[in-house]
Each structure stands twice: as C-alpha cells, then as structure tokens.
Symmetry: C2
Subunit: 158 residues, 2 copies
DNA sequence: ACCGCAAATGCAACAGAGTTGCACAAATGG
DNA sequence: CCATTTGTGCAACTCTGTTGCATTTGCGGT
C-alpha cells in the first residue's frame, strides 16, 4: 500500500518562531488547560485540515521533517484521543486512524472504507438511530462502517 | 487481556484416524470442492461451535497441541475467509477475529465491542437499512459496530 | 526576568500480529 | 500405487505500536 493519496493542505504546520500563536489548534489546547507544544499544535492542525482520518504513518509522512520522533507522534496522537480532541478508529488493515474531533462533528457521521485502496471517506449522510441492546450493556457509541469501492477505484476497473 | 473466556465445546476436534468423516465442517469443505485437511476441519469446526468471533490466538489456544503451526493457522483462517466459510473482522485492539459464516447468518447482524475487555458479542437485533451514498461509490457491505461496556465489565465497576 | 518542577520529547530496545520464501508432506485423481 | 497439486512446517522478517529512561521544555510562581 503506497500511503494513500493524502491530499494534505499547503499551509498546515508553520508558525514556529515568527507568529506567536495564530492557530486554532493551539487555542483548543489552551482551552482545555493543556500544554501547548509544537508537536501537538502541528499534529492537531494537520488533523483539522485533513479531509479524512489519518494514520500514524500518514501524519508522519505529511509532517515530514517536522514530524519529530515516531514515539512522540504515537504519544501525541494517543494523547489527543484521550483528551477528546481526536477520535480513534481501526481500519480494515488493522491500522489505527485518527481524526480531529472539532466540535463534535466527527462523533456523528458515517465512514466509507474502500476495500480496494484502503482510503476512508467521511459521508455527510446522517447515521440511522442505533437499536436497543440487551440489559447490562451500556452503549458508548455506535459506528456504521460502509465497505465497498470508492469512485476512484470503481472507475479504474471494469 | 487473558485470552477471553473461550468456552470451547468438549468434542470439537476429533476424528483423525478412527471415524472417517462425521463433521459437518468437512462436508462444508467438500461442498465447495476444497481439500479436506485436518487443520481446516479442526479450525472450521471450532469456529462453528464458538459463540463469538475468535482471534488467531484464541484458536491457537483452544486447539492446544492440535493447533499446528502458527503460520498454518493464519493461512487456514485467511483461506476460510477467502473461501467464504468464515468472516473477518478487526476489533478495537487491532486484532483480527474470525467467525464461521454458516448459512449466511453472520452476514447480517450486529456486533457489540466491549471497550473494556475487548470481547465481541453478536446481537440478534436486525441492522438498520444502510443509507444511500454518493455517486460512484459502490456499497459492498455495511457493518454497524456498537461500542461500550458489556454486562460483565459493567457490573464489576461503579 | 529567573527558577523549578512537572510534563513532553527523543532515543533505543522491545513486543505482538501478521507475512513471505522455501523445502517437505499429504490429499486427490488417475 | 504413483504423480501432481496443494497444504504444512520452519525460519526469518516486516510493520504497528510500547516501554524505560535520560534530557529538554512549557508554564506557573517568585
């Protein structure tokens, strides 16, 4: 798998020494009383601009030299998820993907997994109401994953 | 995680030299014109008797000395999924789980993932109808995964 | 402006799940 | 019973994610 398309935005990670703090990511960090570190700001900014959930590898590639240590990246992603600023998800290839949890938007929509290229798409369609479950079971969240072929892979084949 | 409960049935894997072929698993294999090998019969039989999807590790543990080689087990599980005799799924801990695909039963029901113990439960509730998606996208299958705490983990805590 | 401490980072080594290549054994078909 | 095709076993490897520990750094207090 060749690291997916990843249409990363042009001006994702900047503001290191010149501009103090212009990024909304930094603001979000401050808002919850967390430390504002370059790594966190860079990663969160990237996730916020990304159109689809990103894997550790995606983030590392997208940030390039600014990605820093592999482990730090894992820890930052993990921390973001723990802090509620991002959501975690495991795709069909056993890879964990992260998405910015903006204003709760990512909590409540559908994901389409392309079984061909592995890309994950976010759909605007509202999810159906979850069914009720047996007593004793507490529902935390429901996730409807659609699997199939995306338009790109679909047109390329028969 | 201590390898899940795994209530493996008493008479799962037998019939090696004495009884010719009594297992329905073997019959299922023959039915699709595939080779009937001990490994396949043992694994498929186990999966068919299992109440929940099993991971590679679960199967290896359950079969004990009869499990054979790790790699063979991976290949058998993979083959079963490819052949349509089992279905694959990835749980919250990035572990692939397999379930026997009997008569199409496992195709169309819900899974509840316990975020505490990682156990996967099969619910009888019928899944909601999938929404329509953008043009160019071809839906292969929809999977509704419910996440939360199971009754066991739920009662143990506050 | 400076100091100190807790928290974050970097480095290195490790762990578990799954894969690949190749030689050998076994299941079918003739 | 033999030949061919397919599955199995072994060893080594890749990839994703973790853990421990020393060092640096954000940030609040002085």
């Amino acid at each position: 798998m060749a690291t997916a398309p990843s249409p990363l935005p042009p001006s994702a990670a900047d503001a290191d020494g010149a501009a103090p703090v212009a990024s909304p990511a930094a603001a979000a960090l401050r808002a919850i009383g967390a430390r504002v570190t370059p790594a966190r700001v860079r990663v969160l900014t990237l996730l916020r601009e990304a159109p689809t959930p990103m894997s550790h590898h995606d983030v590392e590639t997208a940030l390039g030299p600014d990605a820093g240590d592999r482990v730090t990246l894992y820890r930052v992603l993990d921390w973001l998820a723990e802090a509620g600023l991002a959501t975690r998800g495991v795709d069909a290839t056993r890879v964990t993907r992260y998405a910015a949890a903006r204003d709760g938007k990512h909590q409540n929509h559908l994901h389409f997994h392309c079984d061909d290229c592995g890309q994950v798409y976010c759909l605007d369609t509202p999810p159906p109401p979850p069914p009720e479950l047996p007593a004793g079971f507490q529902l935390q969240r429901a996730e409807l994953d659609l699997h199939g072929q995306c338009d790109r892979c679909n047109s390329g084949k028969a």
